[in-house]
Symmetry: C2
Subunit: 150 residues, 2 copies
DNA sequence: TACAATTAAATAGTACGCAATTAAATAGTA
DNA sequence: TACTATTTAATTGCGTACTATTTAATTGTA
């Protein structure tokens, strides 16, 4: 090839682009299903944490989702406006904001059960491949944790 | 576990979240390096296509990057404002807008060569793992192509 | 106590992504 | 030729998300 010198910055030779493209495409595929719950993908993963933990501070939520308050504050206000959560400062330390699922929010969990079923037909990996993919992604994330600009 | 019924919508049991988180984290790691070239990540992948092809229509660029004109038009205008590309209608068919790299844009390629080197230290997969990851992502993308809301 | 440092959330500014609409050019057809 | 349909990209508007900065509360320390 004439410009081998530049091989490292060809789109096709980089790992990051398939990752970036695939991630966006999957989020796009979620959209029609999530629309029925009136949730964005980011709101959906926040609700997943809330369904599991019932009550969580913004900081804890951010640690779990790798999002900061700049993303979460407006997102949680929208979830509150939809009636899925309530937000209140903690008495013990007023810096902390505690987010709790409402009964409407809990009710949403039932509807959400449909989503993984609907997405299954969309992602064409068998279970072994999927878990392999997850472990590779996990390894990348662990590597990040070690050298830590966070 | 008490609520196995909901296992499918627990964050930890879903493949999409590691993918989403990992993709975002990698883009974040690119930022300090890309800042030196005054590029965002999306602008960077657009420049990669342009470095390789010298000249490309908006449509072709969008097909390669999986982005539409709503994203590309403002992005390309910014690249033009920085002097990295020029945009001009094609004589043969005036509907098509052709994007070409300028000499400043080409010069940027030299600087860009540093980026994969700098990122190497950041992503902790060995070559075999990386190519395995790519092939799994490719398989997902191919599956999407088959059932085609695009 | 007073002051500095730390922590948490909110805010402001920018980029991105999507949907819907518009405009222009070309292709197809009566 | 005239008319319609299709294609392509630009534009607009809106919502989401990320970064950097600011504000408020708490903790640690002189």
């Amino acid at each position: 090839m004439s410009n081998d010198k530049y091989a490292s910055i060809r789109l096709g030779n980089q790992m990051c682009f398939p990752l970036y493209a695939c991630s966006k495409e999957i989020v796009r595929r979620y959209k029609p299903f999530l629309d029925e719950l009136k949730l964005t993908y980011t709101q959906y993963i926040a609700m997943m944490v809330l369904w599991e933990r019932k009550s969580v501070t913004v900081k804890e939520l951010g640690e779990e989702l790798l999002l900061d308050s700049g993303t979460l504050t407006p997102l949680l206000k929208k979830l509150e406006a939809k009636g899925y959560v309530v937000r209140e400062r903690m008495k013990s330390d007023e810096r902390n904001l505690c987010v709790k699922v409402t009964s409407d929010g809990e009710a949403l969990q039932e509807k959400a059960l449909e989503i993984p079923k609907q997405m299954k037909g969309c992602v064409t990996l068998d279970p072994e491949e999927a878990s392999l993919l997850c472990s590779l992604l996990q390894k990348i994330m662990n590597g990040f944790e070690e050298n830590k600009p966070r």
